[in-house]
Amino acid sequence: MAVCVAVIAKENYPLYIRSAPTENELKFHYMVHTSLDVVDEKISAMGKALVDQRELYLGLLYPTEDYKVYGYVTNSKVKFVMVVDSSNTALRDNEIRSMFRKLHNSYTDVMCNPFYNPGDRIQSRAFDNMVTSMMIQVC
């Protein structure tokens, strides 16, 4: 369902990026890169309000003709970006939110690994398995 999942660090470099293996990956990398501008825009727009009113889930960042891009940012400014297929209209907002929540939980587990230094690329098998499960979910 998700064709590309990316975890972007606070300094805007990718910690983890993976796309469904069929098409050319560069296109997805470019989409994620351009979505970072939209994320920054949304964060600064909400920045005026009180911090507790700011939600982690950013929602639909921008749609293209084939894909929709969703964003989520944590309080430590780590961003999760997910690209889903537009043709899959059955995907509701709640499902996207729950997918981001699972991503966030797996990310916290990766952070708790004492041998993981924050800022390194994510190389955890459990995280890979979780992303695989999100990508190959059959509609």
Binding site: C112, N113, P114, F115, S124, R125
Partner: protein, 181 residues
């Protein structure tokens, strides 16, 4: 005048995640300080020894176990009372040797390695929980029992279970007792 058997009825609880993360930070820092796995294992064991010699007093005060008459009783107490009290798990005990002085504790789940998936590259012979071996060794030595405690199997290294082997050596003579460092 009767005194209740347990002097301190309540345990001060801390957050398990804090404890696990603290232990992980300790091992990660040791890995940064020492290049060789053997050194890290040795220092973890030494630290555990220091903890064990002190922890055994607390354990004996809280648990009020009676005098043990055999090595297998001792190992059972370690597994069922001590591990339960301090880590919340109950490993199972296996006797390896027919002359009854080699035992194994099989841990099916180990709370200390909850967030560690696998050992980092280049650290394949690191015994992550070697502190536990040192603790058991130090505790036994304070009750005048010399023992060799090592990891026989480790899930982090790819084995199916985590197994701690305890080999009881000759009983230390109380008069000639010397603290081993």
């Amino acid at each position: 005048m009767s005194r209740p058997a347990h002097r301190r009825p309540e345990y001060h609880k801390i957050n398990k995640d804090l404890f696990v993360l603290t232990y992980g930070a300790l091992v990660a820092q040791l890995c940064k300080d020492y290049e060789k796995d053997e050194d890290v294992n040795k220092y973890l064991d030494k630290m555990g020894y220091g903890i064990g010699t002190r922890l055994v007093e607390d354990f004996l005060a809280r648990s009020c176990v009676g005098r043990c008459h055999s090595y297998s009783e001792i190992t059972d107490i370690i597994a069922q009372v001590a591990f339960k009290m301090y880590l919340g798990i109950t490993p199972s005990v296996i006797c390896n040797n027919s002359s009854r002085n080699e035992f194994s504790l099989i841990l099916d789940k180990n709370p200390l390695v909850e967030f560690v998936e696998e050992l980092p590259a280049g650290r394949s012979s690191l015994c992550y929980c070697n502190l536990l071996c040192g603790i058991i060794r130090g505790a036994l030595e304070m009750v005048h029992l010399a023992a060799d405690v090592t990891f026989l199997q480790d899930r982090l290294k790819g084995d199916s279970v985590t197994e701690i082997g305890i080999t009881f050596l000759k009983k230390l003579d109380e008069k000639k007792y010397r603290r081993k460092k």
